[in-house]
Symmetry: C2
Subunit: 215 residues, 2 copies
């Protein structure tokens, strides 16, 4: 089957990742098969969307049986390119960076933390996780090149988000997960995914108010 | 102008919030007007999407002049229901909860932290932020009712995410920002917005690999 990856909407990829996490949860609970309708309900979407999202990549479901949970998980892993290990670094080791470094969700998802960077002298040289040292940001270029790191989680203070992201892009980082809450612009060679906590609360604010809560 | 809020796609609301943060950044940099094309470029989308997203709510732009940054910001604030203060609590005060409590992005966005909840005896009774105490989860029902709290950020460990979210929903919380990385299901009275850090990396993994990075 031929398809052009650039035609696939960003939102489909986002949902694919969401399906993957739901499937993982189902597998842990011993579920072997799931219909597009059930998967849609768990993902807060509809069955048509689920089928359409998956149809970009192939035929995964069977009529009257649905999707094989284990098979679909493996296929999504291949699509998302997470069957092999992706190395990443954390840049900015405050509370947020610390939370991410210890986040249990990464463990079984083939994202491997390789280094932590900060500018605070009190943090540099420490080893908060076995084998993972906090290094000075000045060392980042050499480290990224030597270890062929493509991904960085940016968790610096807002006021240095832009300058740090430019530095990451120049060093060779190809994907930045921006958690600073500040909009950043980098060269088109580097992709940015924004995770903004405030955006989440704003979304909730909108839909809760529209539901007409009486309290 | 009449429109039905339930017809507005979730993704539009998400983008609206994104536009808002970009506009804020522009305002700070002294920009007064912006075209849909410029706004689209900053938001990683296209001008047609920008115009369509905003058209659900009214006519905000002027031909050849574009959008007035300040005016559009205020209108989006009204739409998102963030012109007035929204009170929220943090449930789970580990590294992630700590990061959120101190996140500077909330300050000027009318989201007001009212309380923090945990089960760890060493944390309870402390006041990490002036006027905001860490309370035991047992106190949550009374606190939510008394203070008319609608929103909660869920940052507990994964294994208690489901049981805690059910408790929040029963206590009267109408919107949960789920940062646990675990899929949760609550009664339809409560809305859930998932922020999953792993999803962000998976999205990057997909698009970086599709761009055909040679390293």
């Amino acid at each position: 089957m031929k398809y052009n990856y650039s035609d696939i909407p960003e939102v489909t990829v986002r949902r694919l990742s969401n399906y993957f996490h739901i499937l993982k949860c189902l597998k842990e609970n011993g579920v072997d098969f799931i219909s597009s309708k059930q998967l849609a309900a768990l993902a807060h979407t509809n069955a048509v969307s689920v089928r359409k999202d998956l149809s970009y990549f192939g035929e995964f479901g069977k009529k009257h049986i649905g999707y094989n949970v284990n098979f679909l998980m493996k296929e999504i892993m291949k699509i998302l390119n997470i069957s092999k290990t992706n190395k990443y670094i954390i840049v900015g080791y405050g509370n947020l960076g610390t939370a991410i470094a210890h986040f249990p969700g990464f463990k079984d998802e083939n994202f491997l933390l390789k280094g932590i960077f900060d500018i605070n002298k009190n943090k540099i040289g420490k080893e908060p996780i076995e084998g993972i040292k906090v290094m000075h940001i000045e060392e980042i270029d050499a480290f990224v090149k030597e270890n062929k790191i493509k991904f960085a989680v940016l968790s610096t203070p807002m006021n240095v988000a832009q300058v740090t992201s430019e530095r990451l892009s120049k060093a060779g980082i190809r994907g930045i997960l921006n958690m600073t809450g500040r909009h950043i612009r980098v060269s088109s060679e580097t992709l940015v995914f924004d995770i903004n906590i405030v955006t989440g609360l704003e979304w909730l604010s909108y839909f809760v108010s529209k539901k007409g809560d009486k309290r």
